[in-house]
Assembly symmetry: C2
Homo-oligomer: 116 residues x 2
Amino acid sequence: MKISTDRERSCPVTATLSVIGGRWKPIIIYTLSNGSKRFGQLAAFIPGISRKVLTDQLKELERDGLVLREEFKETPPRVEYSLTKKGASLGPVLLAMCEWGQEHLMNRAIEEKVLV
Amino acid sequence: MKISTDRERSCPVTATLSVIGGRWKPIIIYTLSNGSKRFGQLAAFIPGISRKVLTDQLKELERDGLVLREEFKETPPRVEYSLTKKGASLGPVLLAMCEWGQEHLMNRAIEEKVLV
């Protein structure tokens, strides 16, 4: 119960940041937004992420109800990750952050490079 | 130059999170969105923040071009903080995060409380 109590106390923006914040979660959510993926596929789509970090981030996303982990009893066993309805509903939030970042941070970085 | 190089490499969402992430920055930006404030006013509007953390967060927001610090040479000297145009442009981003948090995290917290 601790997590939800903390979230209740905090502002909704901080609560949202608590589930999508960090370096990898937005990229994982984005990668899953065009369909379910196996662990190895996710790792291949996200350069620079270690298997341990990806495992931990997926567990947190699953705990927060954004990602669904499904085991298929095949040989060899197959595990797939997909966005839940709640995870998919983050689309407009990520888009707003993406557009702001592109306009205000990526351009500035390029301008600074030209000026220096 | 390190910060902008890192931002260039990262996705725009991660870049946005790097300037507004953390527990306090969204609340500071929201508090400044309805007009400039003195340091003491900001501290009073944001319960639970220490003077040291508020000072550090304001310095980072100033460095990232989201907050303007103005010194007025009066007796006693007056310092005011306000949002820059870039800081104010974060409004829709924070609103999207706020609405998502209210719908998906605050309600769930309340539901959980009712169920337990």
